[in-house]
């Protein structure tokens, strides 16, 4: 007579070889393959890299003569680091001993929160970084006068009819505003696109798992 799956299960595991635990060596020193640990590692590496870069950039900008640019960069990136460090702490609060639905939900909520926060930051960050470059070079010393002022003088020399607003050519302001608008519009999208390339499948899988559990509640 054909065996039921219950009998196959019971009888199969009665055999002595069925449940031999594999040897575990140097467990703690091995690199974890768990997604939460992976996120933590990725986050920590990113944050350390940002802190190191912003310090180096601050020093270099001082010697290159654009300290304002370095200072704005530094403050902006430090805010980014502090916000993301707080987000990272949230990962530690996810309890793997919860039921699967709560666990997946907590992890999904963390991902959504970090994506939403970083998308919002990107909307501001790219324009701020762009403006810091403009401001940095505008006030860079060029033989006694700021580089921006000198540039305006040269433009006025070539095009005397140029309309100025707050001492800056209107066309320049329009171009600047356009670029800032584009950076603000695409900043969040660039972040989302970047994240989807790396973790898109993981995010989709999480949603699928949760939807499957939710279907049991329907």
């Amino acid at each position: 007579m054909e065996k039921s799956i219950e009998n196959i299960w019971k009888e199969g595991f009665l055999k002595s070889d069925a449940l031999v635990a594999p040897k575990i060596n140097n467990l703690y020193s091995q690199k974890s393959i768990h997604i939460i640990d992976k996120f933590k590692r990725m986050f920590k590496i990113n944050l350390i890299a940002i802190v190191a870069f912003s310090f180096i950039f601050l020093v270099v900008s001082y010697f290159v003569g654009v300290p304002l640019m370095g200072a704005i960069f530094f403050v902006t990136l430090m805010v980014l680091v502090i916000i993301n460090k707080r987000l990272l702490n949230g990962l530690d609060r996810i309890d793997k001993g919860e039921n699967s639905y709560q666990y997946l939900k907590a992890f999904n909520q963390w991902i959504k929160k970090q994506v939403a926060v970083n998308k919002r930051i990107s909307t501001f960050m790219y324009p701020i970084i762009f403006m810091s470059i403009i401001i940095g070079f505008w006030f860079k010393d060029a033989e006694g006068i700021p580089l921006g002022k000198r540039l305006v003088n040269e433009v006025l020399f070539g095009f005397p009819d140029t309309y100025l607003l707050f001492g800056i050519p209107l066309i320049g302001i329009v171009i600047l505003v356009l670029i800032i608008g584009l950076l603000a519009f695409f900043g969040g999208k660039i972040y989302q696109w970047d994240l989807n390339i790396i973790y898109g499948r993981v995010f989709r899988k999480l949603e699928e798992l949760m939807a499957d559990i939710e279907s049991l509640n329907a």
């Binding site: 009888e11 768990h34 559990i213």
Partner: protein
């Protein structure tokens, strides 16, 4: 992790972990990686155990949750959830047990969705629908229906009627 913790708190329950990890992997190498990772995560989470449930149930929860969200590196270095890496025929894993029927049953279980795998494993471990609902995090009303559907699907897979 101390060997005491492993010997006292994990090894007696290793059967649960082994059975689950086998269902979510398709090669001996992956199985050993997953087993180690589950042990590591049990050890890391041990302070969160509140004794609301039995230790074995808690180990089951951790093992299942970890298996559902593990990342493995494929040879091409891209990262996926384990289910994305399973070949459709589970062919790499045919000889995990000496019992051929058990091997075939596991191959069939690996063809189910992740949640269906969890449900049928819990059912085969003789957990009540209430316990299955508690571990998965769903109400128990539909568990019985789902178990019946999974068993029909498993039977069809074992009979070669579907892949």
């Amino acid at each position: 992790m101390s060997s005491d913790f492993y010997n006292i708190s994990i090894l007696p329950f290793s059967g649960i972990i082994i059975k689950l990890c086998r269902a979510y992997t398709n090669s001996q190498e992956d199985f050993e990686d997953y087993y180690q990772e589950v042990c590591l995560q049990i050890w890391r989470s041990k302070d969160n155990f509140r004794e609301k449930s039995e230790w074995s149930t808690w180990v089951y929860r951790i093992s299942l949750n970890v298996c559902l969200t593990l990342l493995k590196k494929k040879k091409n270095n891209s990262q996926h959830f384990v289910s994305d890496t399973l070949p459709s025929d589970g062919s790499e894993y045919n000889n995990a047990f000496t019992d051929e029927s058990l091997n075939l049953l596991y191959d069939a279980i690996r063809k189910l969705s992740e949640i269906d795998r969890a449900i049928i494993m819990l059912y085969l471990e003789e957990k009540s629908y209430q316990e299955i609902g508690d571990i998965i995090g769903t109400n128990t009303n539909n568990i019985g229906v789902r178990v019946a559907r999974i068993k029909i699907r498993l039977k069809k897979i074992l009979d070669g009627k579907i892949n």
